[in-house]
């Protein structure tokens, strides 16, 4: 078992390297906008997974961070005329601050209570986004220019945009990876396993959870802000609670608590949505619902989780 | 359920009992018989499978196979909640007092399965602490009080076969002594008792027979009469 694990550990850098190269060449084979969407949602799901998979906190309001960052970035770039990287940073920061507010209110409870509270807070954000004129309400914040990165690189070129998104994803992913495998990550794990014990060892548990929450929110914001640039719009769908549900689905489908699972889940869901869009008409939600049910009942480990288990089993035999 | 003309003096017979938690195989073929009115103990080290034996009788393990006869009836295929109807009372090792119920509600919770259980008054006389704390939420009782409550709970139902898991755990000596008296009295009234005990000094004088478990198997059966002669061996295997 432990030898297998170390085999995993040795294979990991190889795997990441391969994926990285794949990411570099992918836009020449697959439609870049589609890839960018996968990367944005992938990052969103990874950020979410940091919280659920590694800190054991189910937030049912993560759309609030995705959407808020999207709006903030959109307004900054379109109305304040800043460069895209400033827009992205601004959106991320806004999401982080919002995450801190949510966190302070919700962190005191855990499990289902936590989920409900985050859901309700996100609802407030939704109403705000709906009513505030600057967000364009139902019409959405439209016509966000992609602008010039650092004032130099023209992002209206889809390929340039793609590499920006890819870079953002890699940075976000690296931060998450690092956070999981850091002293902070260790304590997070300990808290998840036995919270009273962690308290008795002198750790201020709420602060650790709060930091995890803020990190996750900010990274979700990073995804949201980038997404706004990609699609040149921010709309209510990104703050709606369906989006919060969707990210849970992506994570669950890909493999909760696995490092690459959320990306895989996002890829599958985004592809399904775009494929199904042409074919099944009104059955989209039913199919999404069915995937949810199947995941929960049969494939709780998710795609990546099941794969890992498979490799492990074949390794043992 | 238990009439005086019942043709089976044997209250509990377990044969070739295997039990599993998920993948792990915990009991490897347990055989034991307990006649009506007897008291036996299961001895063994931590993790030897004593609690699991009791739990398997009730069907609280992942999976079990073999045969369990209660009062001459095969019950191995029956669901847990039916076991109480066969007159089995169980005091679990983790006590399982309910926090959303008051102490008294906890006491009154299990359905009466036959007449002959103790009355609430009798129980309060036996454990005055409980009477004093009767309105308190169950889990707000102290560790020992919860232990008393768990014991009292089955005495009220009229169950004739008692499976008791570490009932002296965490109790002050004064209460342990009282429990010893209670067990003696129960035996006299014809109750059948299977005990799991760490506290050998408590169990030794009460039991008619001791089963010694190791790794999910019975490695020795020691009737009370042979006990003095086997003390050294016990000491060695169990560190008693």
């Amino acid at each position: 078992m432990s030898r297998n694990l170390s085999m995993f550990a040795r294979a990991t850098p190889l795997l990441f390297g391969a994926l990285f190269v794949l990411g570099l060449v992918a836009p020449f084979a697959v439609y870049p906008t589609f890839l960018m969407k996968i990367l944005c949602f992938g990052l969103f799901a990874c950020a979410f997974n940091l919280l659920l998979g590694f800190a054991g906190l189910l937030s049912f309001g993560h759309a609030a961070f995705l959407g808020t960052a999207g709006y903030v970035c959109g307004m900054l770039v379109r109305d304040a005329g800043v460069t895209p990287e400033v827009g992205i940073l601004g959106g991320t920061l806004a999401a982080g601050i919002l995450g801190w507010v949510f966190g302070v209110l919700a962190i005191r409870r855990s499990g289902i209570y936590f989920a409900m509270i985050t859901l309700a807070l996100a609802q407030m954000v939704f109403f705000f986004a709906l009513q505030w004129r600057a967000t364009g309400g139902e019409d959405g914040l439209q016509g966000v220019p992609r602008g010039h990165l650092f004032g130099v690189i023209d992002l209206s070129n889809n390929l340039a945009m793609y590499y920006l998104v890819f870079a953002v994803f890699c940075i976000g992913f690296f931060i998450i990876y690092r956070a999981i495998h850091s002293p902070f990550g260790q304590i997070l794990k300990a808290i998840r396993e036995n919270e009273p014990r962690a308290v008795s060892l002198g750790y201020d548990v709420t602060k650790f959870k709060l930091l995890a929450f803020v990190l996750s929110a900010a990274l979700a914001g990073l995804a949201g802000a980038t997404k706004t640039l990609v699609f040149q719009l921010a709309s209510l769908t990104d703050v709606h609670w369906h989006m919060s549900g969707e990210v849970v689905l992506m994570t669950l489908l890909g493999g909760l608590g696995t490092i690459l699972g959320p990306l895989a889940g996002a890829a599958v869901i985004v592809s399904l949505q775009s494929e199904l869009a042409d074919k099944v008409g009104s059955w989209v939600t039913v199919i999404m619902g069915a995937i949810f049910v199947l995941c929960v009942l049969l494939f709780r480990r998710g795609i990546v989780g099941e794969l890992q288990a498979l490799i492990r089993r074949s390794g043992v035999n | 359920m238990t009439s005086a003309f019942e043709p089976h003096p044997e209250m509990l017979r377990i044969s070739d009992l295997h039990a599993f938690y998920g993948e792990s195989h915990i009991l490897h073929g347990i055989d034991l018989q307990v006649a009506r009115g007897e008291c036996v103990t299961l001895l063994g080290r931590n993790g030897s499978g004593r609690s699991t034996t009791l739990k398997s009788v009730l069907g609280l393990v992942g999976r079990r196979s073999g045969s369990i006869m209660v009062n001459g009836k095969e019950v191995v295929a029956e669901p847990t909640h039916r076991m109480a109807r066969h007159g089995i009372g169980y005091v679990p090792e983790e006590r399982a007092i309910f926090s959303s119920l008051s102490a008294e509600e906890n006491l009154l919770l299990p359905p009466q399965v036959s007449s002959g259980g103790m009355s609430v008054d009798e129980i309060y006389r036996m454990f005055p602490n409980l009477e004093e704390r009767r309105a308190s939420p169950g889990t707000k009782l102290s560790g020992g009080e919860q232990q008393m409550l768990a014991m009292a709970r089955v005495l009220r139902t009229g169950a004739r076969l008692l499976l008791l898991d570490e009932i002296t755990e965490g109790l002050a000596p004064v209460i342990v002594k009282k429990l010893g008296e209670v067990i003696t009295e129960l035996k006299a009234r014809g109750f059948t008792i299977v005990m799991v005990e760490q506290n050998f000094r408590f169990a030794a004088p009460l039991a008619d027979r001791h089963y010694v478990l190791e790794h999910g198997e019975i490695i020795a059966t020691i009737p009370q009469a042979e006990l003095p002669g086997r003390m050294d061996w016990l000491h060695q295997t169990l560190g008693v």
Binding site: S182, F184 | G170
Partner: protein, 255 residues
């Protein structure tokens, strides 16, 4: 430095009018192993909860190392060096034994919030962690996943983790509960070992353990102190014998 490391005065806790602890003046001498015994429901666990701030007292004060800690947060008290163990064993089941101890050691490193730092930065703690594990005889289990270990060893691990905090004083609630005799002996030896240059306050029903280990004993009944003294003194006190042992020979109460 006062000779008493921990002092309470008039410590009281009421639950809806029921006084679980009333007016307890407890003084624990530095370096002692001090036992808190008493019949069930006497208020021992409640006293522990008060000392470690898991419950706020209704009245009274707690001084630890001369400082008033009555209104401190639990984690702050723990950082001061007053650390408890739980009645049920408290480990991190999916971490390895070594990692468990490291969680305890990590706090002093002060990098708890450093999410940008590599895990490898924790390796500096490994030697110290191994040493702690050796001290409780767990060295060869360092890479075992904790959940798979037997009860007695988990208990030992818990103590090792607690020691990692270098507590000046440890509170142990029924440390031998649910253990076979072999494990009890192991834990008794362990407690004796770790009691060197620290203070221990323990709740225990197993009187042979108490007799064996403790320098001083406080007997609680109904929330108040009934008697205090060495084992020899307390075991002859007729009030104690009546309230706690239920017979006139303390030895009856040994397991």
């Amino acid at each position: 430095m006062s000779e008493f490391i921990l002092e309470t005065s008039g410590l009281t806790k009421e639950f809806k009018g029921f006084a679980a602890v009333s007016g307890v003046d407890l003084r624990v001498r530095r370096g002692h192993i001090h036992a808190l015994i008493g019949p069930n429901g006497a208020g021992k666990t409640t006293v522990f909860n008060l000392l470690t701030k898991f419950l706020p007292p209704t009245a009274g004060t707690i001084h630890f190392e001369g400082r008033d800690i009555t209104h401190e947060a639990p984690a702050a008290t723990a950082r001061r060096g007053l650390v408890r163990s739980f009645q049920i064993s408290a480990t991190f089941p999916n971490l390895t034994v070594l990692e468990n101890v490291r969680i305890g050691l990590q706090r002093k490193l002060g990098t708890g919030f450093h999410f940008w730092r590599s895990e490898k930065s924790l390796d500096v703690l490994n030697d110290r962690a191994m040493a702690l594990l050796e001290s409780v005889d767990l060295g060869r289990f360092a890479d075992t996943v904790t959940g798979e270990m037997p009860y007695g060893r988990k208990r030992a691990l818990e103590i090792a983790t607690t020691l990692a905090l270098e507590p000046t004083m440890m509170l142990l609630d029924e440390p031998t509960q649910g253990m076979g005799h072999e494990d009890i002996d192991r834990v008794v030896a362990l407690i004796r070992k770790v009691s060197e240059n620290r203070t221990i306050l323990m709740v225990e029903h197993n009187l042979s353990v108490v007799a064996n280990l403790c320098d001083r004993i406080t007997v609680l009944t109904r929330g108040s102190v009934l008697a205090e003294g060495s084992y020899g003194e307390v075991s002859k006190n007729p009030k104690v014998l009546e309230a706690y042992v239920g017979s006139d020979d303390m030895n009856d109460a040994h397991h």
